[in-house]
Amino acid sequence: MLRYAIKRIGYAVVTLLIVVTITFFLMRSIPGDPLSHRAQALPEQTRANYYAKYGYDKPLFTQYTMYMKNFLRGDLGESILYPGRSVSQTIAKTSPISGAIGGIALVIGFGIGITLGIIAALNKNRWPDYLVMFIAILGTTVPVFVLAALLQYFVAVKLHWLPSSGGGQTRHAIMPIMVLCLGPIASFARYLKASMLDTLSQDYILTAQAKGLSRRAVILKHVLRNSMLPIVTILAGRIVGVFTGSFLVERMFGIPGVGFYFVNSVTNKDYSMILGTTVFFAALFVFAQLAVDFVYVLVDPRIRITPESR
């Protein structure tokens, strides 16, 4: 187990370093350089100072080693659009906002999705099943911005129940959370239903019923536990979705989260911010996946690491 853990962590770290490297050189390969269109109007000396400030006067490889050194210390450089603002601090300040809204949406979506999945699986081919599957298909096919626009139009503009955008108060967060939790509801319901149906047809369920366990006990202790395994995998993807899935929602509802700043930096060509945020998202993704691998080993007794099977 320990060897496996070290190996997986090693892979994750290497993956992350590769991603950072690729992203760094991608950003530096942009025609011209990130500062050129801002520095055009500056006098010669000022421009040289400006370039020196961001380290762009040095050769590319030196820039890379500098960036990597700073990266390992958690420093992602300085914003080009807002001089003086550090990228790491901006991420540290804005990501909790995204994390809170996305996290609540994920928890709610998980709860509702699991409940709907169970209902659908236990009522296979009857109306509750069809209803749940209808919701699930809608949830996966209606784009978030369509849903957000519909909610804004009817709830905020027509009914005046909630403010259409803004941040800071609880009521500002209700609609974004509603929009963000539909995706998780749909995918959790769909996958849990499929997984439960699969489990229900297993022999050990028949055994459990044959030895006289109540239906409740069979479902809670045997079916549900075994069906939750694939859900763990989806949860991993969704954890990152907490931050990335909110690009549009944050923009539409005017929430000052990390997704909002990322999109903002893209439209304003703030390259150091784009690079920093990408690295942040990649790190999040890699480590979420790592966590899932470990949880999987802990949860699933069928996956036991034996010396020969890595």
Binding site: T23, P143, V266
Partner: protein, 307 residues
């Protein structure tokens, strides 16, 4: 009571030896069989018909409207849907009926081409990886792991920034550059599974040549998975394009797409909701139909789901 039964009371009425091996019914090919099962699925058929109508309108719609999609008419700004402008006009007085179908061209082409390109690349990559196995497989799959360790939409956004152009080609390139990884994984898994099955072993034992095994056993068994994956990928690409368009980093004017139309309408949706709802409806409808079609195809093409 014991009556003697002589042999000549019996008469041989068949079957003739020559007919013992005769096939009673005409052979049904795999795809005919799949089509037969697909036809039973009413939801999938409806989705297919709706898609056919959408494709028809996307091809001929801009011509039907009688207006050019980029034609500006200052006297007709923000008109609601009427007999003259079936979907109304936008803030520059452009006919939305023409614009919606013109935008649909871009959206649907990106969806189809993106899914086809990525599944083509992904199938070859996954096929090689799965067929050769061992070291090759290890290295190839590790590369895929690195590529998908950056969230997909971030890669797309990053590439549109790096390529610094917003043409349809750039968008397609950005979306397919890591988009093939998912299909590569699926195909690899399927090839690995098929390769180890008894009918492949039987074919090998009978001395069938490797290329014939690939052609007759592995490809048909993987093909259904690829077709289904393509169908499920199309809505992903349509959404990706709409997402970028909505953020303002997609297709640029004068050309348009459903995402761009929805984005343009978003600032004024409280006053002119139809400008937002029509393109949004098209996006949702197309994605829904492709998903339902994919469900139907999966049920029809997978022999293991046969009842």
């Amino acid at each position: 009571m014991n009556e003697e039964i002589s042999k000549d009371l019996f008469q041989i009425i068949g079957p003739e030896d020559s007919e013992a091996e005769k096939i009673a019914r005409p052979r049904i090919s795999y795809f005919k069989d799949a089509w037969r099962r697909f036809k039973e699925n009413k939801i999938a058929i409806v989705a297919l018909i709706v898609l056919a109508v959408l494709v028809f309108m996307v091809i001929f719609g801009p011509a039907i409207s009688g207006y050019k999609f980029e034609e500006i008419d200052p006297s007709q700004r923000n008109e609601g849907p009427s007999a003259r402008h079936w979907f109304g006009t936008d803030k520059l007085g452009r006919d939305l009926f023409a614009r919606v179908w013109q935008g649909g061209r871009v959206s649907i082409i990106i969806g189809l081409v993106g899914a086809l390109v990525s599944s083509f690349v992904g199938s070859i990559y996954g096929g090689i990886s799965g067929y050769f196995g061992g070291r090759v497989d290890d290295i190839m799959m590790r590369i895929v792991e690195v590529l998908i360790s950056v969230p997909y939409l971030i890669v797309v956004i990053l590439l549109t920034v790096v390529l610094d152009s917003k043409s349809m080609f750039t968008l397609l390139l950005a979306m397919t550059i890591t988009g093939w990884c998912g299909i590569a994984r699926i195909v690899r898994g399927q090839v690995l599974q098929v390769k180890s099955q008894e009918f492949v072993m039987a074919a090998q034992a009978l001395g069938v040549r490797p290329w014939k095994i690939i052609l007759h056993h592995i490809i048909p068994n993987v093909l259904s998975v690829i077709i289904v994956a393509i169908t499920f990928d199309v809505p992903g690409y349509i959404f990706g394009e709409a997402f970028l368009g909505f953020l303002g980093i997609g297709i640029q004017p004068p050309n348009t797409s459903w995402g761009v139309l929805a984005s343009a309408a978003q600032s004024m949706y409280a006053f002119y909701p139809y400008q937002l709802f029509i393109p949004s409806l098209m996006i949702a409808l197309t994605m829904l139909c492709f998903t339902l079609l994919g469900d139907g195809l999966r049920d029809a093409l997978d022999p293991r789901l046969r009842k």
